[in-house]
């Protein structure tokens, strides 16, 4: 297993944010963790990066306990936060070149161009400063960076928030391609519809507990009641989208 959470408990400011969740993500697999605000989705991502140590249980990357070697875990993970900004004063090439060098990888301009082609970033936009980019465009640059870093694992935090439907579809296609090339992808999202489209597995998180887990083949059988429960903190339940 590339990613594994095993009876994971995490406390933050004296409150239990995750209460013994267990799941795993394998190579070539996209796992979507769904849940409402405060369900513990981002906390789960951060625990794989070693930013939040478990109060009990464990998180493993490539079979190694993250706590025992955080640097080793981070080396094989590419992480895209919800608001991908990168560096606004640099263009796409400069951003990728700088961040690649920081992560100890070197890539020629040709390779960078190929990666940007893969994520369909328009050539005309590549020399523009990122402060002029839309979120979708910045996300493409971040994904290109992940491609060039060639990490085994991608952690995506709310990747579709703020994107228009066309951009979401394009993004899902890119993520699908990466998974098909053997990457293990864990994404946390509010977007039930999108998750059902792209994920191989869906986990429903509610108040720090994994209240349901479904494989792609089982998505038709997802219990709307459970989805309602998972999103019970949100006013407008996405379960309607699922049943639509």
């Amino acid at each position: 297993m590339k990613l594994q959470a095993d009876s994971l408990h995490i406390m933050r400011s004296g409150q239990e944010v995750l209460s013994g969740i267990s799941f795993s993500v394998d190579s070539g697999e996209i796992y979507a963790l769904l849940g409402g605000n405060g369900a513990g989705k981002s906390t789960t991502l951060l625990s794989f990066l070693g930013f939040l140590p478990p109060s009990s249980g464990r998180v493993c990357v490539n079979g190694n306990d993250v706590e025992s070697d955080i640097a080793l875990a981070r080396k094989v993970i590419a992480y895209l936060p919800e608001s991908v900004s990168l560096y606004g004063h640099l263009n796409a090439y400069e951003n990728i070149d700088y961040l690649l060098q920081l992560s100890g990888v070197s890539a020629s301009g040709e390779k960078i161009n190929t990666a940007l082609d893969q994520v369909s970033l328009m050539p005309a936009a590549r020399q523009r400063k990122l402060r002029d980019y839309s979120k979708g465009m910045r996300q493409r640059v971040a994904i290109a960076l992940a491609i060039l870093r060639d990490t085994d694992i991608l952690l995506l935090d709310e990747p579709s928030s703020g994107l228009d439907p066309g951009a979401i579809d394009e993004f899902h296609q890119i993520v699908r391609n990466l998974a098909d090339n053997g990457k293990a992808i864990l994404m946390v999202t509010h977007d039930v519809y999108g998750a059902c489209q792209v994920a191989d597995k869906i986990g429903l998180l509610h108040n720090g507990k994994l209240v349901g887990e479904y494989a792609a083949t089982e998505q038709a059988h997802i219990d709307t009641e459970t989805v309602h429960k998972a999103f019970s903190s949100t006013a407008d339940s996405p379960a309607h989208a699922l049943s639509a």
Binding site: L49, F51, A71, R74, P81, Y87, L102, S103, G104
Partner: protein, 478 residues
């Protein structure tokens, strides 16, 4: 190390593309270059003026006609303190202590201002020296550029991806610190240029390097302080508010409070009070103008016995001259005791003020800078001691002429008629009692030794600040 260099280079690229950073650096550059040039011109002019005035004063003294030697004692002589070579960077306390002193018999005059033009300077911005710019404004530029270093990564959500890429918090901070430190060194380049002029003026390379090192440590401190705030607080505006408040407190409020506290805790007696006490004590040693002063009767008896004569008229030397010499010696001891006591009080006050450097590094670097430049209180005292040595030597030299070149009979009868008046004069060739005076700063090792407390304070600040920063670097979280 490669990551540290990359982060530092990335930070430089950000500054070069940021109008705010470039604008701040440019304003500082204009300020420091203008101040350095103006200060250099002023110091060079003052140096030439004081050197010329010194030469003129010596020539005037030496060109006096035949006179009674004691008239020459009261004719007096001026000494001028030429500015130290590094005064063009740090004029220190020169502006408030004066640069010229009138030397005469029986008195130790206070140092005064050499020229009336100096007072006109107070109306302008003459107080703004390169040292003051480095002490007060360079930290502001560092704050301007550095306050966003870490918090910017946090606010743009880049901190988590950077850490997730395997860059440790300490590496990130080391890179940012390297960028800011290299910028601080760039800020000091005008100081090096000014130092080169001081080298040409006779200053040593070690002194220049010491001054450069002192400001490097001081600015490194502000780099650490700025980065610490940028690492600790989560909002750009909070970091800016905190660092500006710290600058305000360290640079303006605490030094003013410290000066007030030091003045009150180590008071120095006022001039009028001291002068009255000194006058009372000086009367006890006898009046050198009065050969019959009761305080000098023992001298008379000793001399008569020594030369086996009954009357002072029979002495082989001029008794009035001997009295003048003896009285001057005793009086000088009283004056020196008072001067030593006043200097000790001023040093205690200064020591107290130096100790307040533990509260604000601005005070510590100000003392260190003045000490290395040779424009501190110690050098003011050094000038006063050198002036007193010159005064005592020339007065006693003239008294010796009085003793040896003028007979007692001619001396006491000088007011009888014109011929007697002429006989009571000695040849002008006897005025060659003055050596050419040139005030020199202490050796650099002595200057550094004098500033050892300030060096310790600055290094302690630096160690603590970077220690805390290193610790915070290990704790940094997105």
């Amino acid at each position: 190390m490669k990551q540290v260099l990359l982060i530092a280079a990335g930070e430089w690229r950000y500054w070069l593309r940021s109008q705010l950073a470039l604008g701040g650096a440019l304003i500082f550059l204009v300020l420091i270059v203008a101040t350095s040039l103006l200060n250099n011109l002023r110091m060079e002019a003052e140096k030439q003026t004081r050197t010329r005035q010194q030469t003129e004063a010596e020539e005037t003294f030496l060109s006096q006609p035949d006179r009674h030697p004691h008239r020459m004692v009261h004719y007096g002589h001026y000494l001028f303190r030429a500015p130290a070579p590094l005064a063009l960077l740090d004029p220190g306390i020169d502006a408030v202590t004066g640069q010229a002193i009138f030397l005469e018999g029986h008195r130790q005059n206070t140092v005064m201002f050499a020229e009336s033009a100096a007072s006109a300077d107070f109306g302008g911005l003459s107080w703004l020296s390169p040292a003051l710019i480095y002490q007060l404004f360079a930290p502001l530029v560092i704050i301007l550029l550095g306050h966003g270093s870490v918090v910017r990564e946090r606010e743009t959500a880049m901190l988590a991806p950077l850490l997730a890429m395997g860059i440790s918090g300490r590496t990130l901070i080391a890179g940012k610190a390297l960028a800011l430190l290299s910028f601080a060194v760039c800020l000091l380049l005008p100081l090096v240029a000014g130092g080169a002029m001081a080298l040409a003026g006779g200053e040593t390379l070690i002194a220049l390097l010491s001054l450069f090192g002192a400001y490097c440590v001081y600015l490194a401190l502000w780099v650490a302080l700025t980065l610490l705030a940028s690492t600790t607080f989560k909002k750009h505006s909070t970091v800016l508010a905190v660092t500006t408040a710290l600058w305000f407190g360290f640079s303006l409020v605490l030094p003013a409070v410290a000066v007030d506290l030091a003045s009150n805790s180590e008071p120095v007696a006022g001039k009028i009070e001291t002068d009255l006490a000194m006058l009372a004590d000086s009367r006890k040693v006898g009046d050198g103008h009065n050969a019959n002063d009761p305080a000098l009767q023992q001298l008379r008896a000793d001399l008569l016995e020594k030369h086996s004569v009954e009357r002072i008229e029979d002495l082989p030397v001029n008794f009035r001259g001997i009295v003048a010499m003896e009285a001057e010696q005793k009086l000088t001891k009283v004056l020196n005791d008072y001067a030593a006591s006043r200097m000790a009080a001023e040093r205690r006050q200064e020591k107290r003020l130096i100790d307040y450097g533990w509260l604000t590094p601005v005070l510590a670097v100000a003392f260190l800078s003045r000490s290395i430049a040779g424009t501190d209180l110690a050098h003011y005292h050094r000038f006063q001691r050198a002036a007193e040595a010159v005064r005592f030597a020339f007065v006693q030299g003239l008294n010796r002429v009085h003793v040896e070149k003028l007979s007692y009979q001619d001396d006491i009868n000088r007011n009888k008629n014109e011929a007697a008046w002429q006989r009571a004069r000695v040849d002008a060739s006897n005025w060659q009692v003055l050596d050419t005076f040139q005030f020199r700063t202490a050796g650099i090792s002595q200057r550094i030794q004098h500033a050892s407390s300030s060096i310790r304070i600055l290094l302690a600040w630096l160690t603590v600040m970077f220690g805390i920063l290193f610790w915070c670097g290990g704790k940094i979280k997105p």
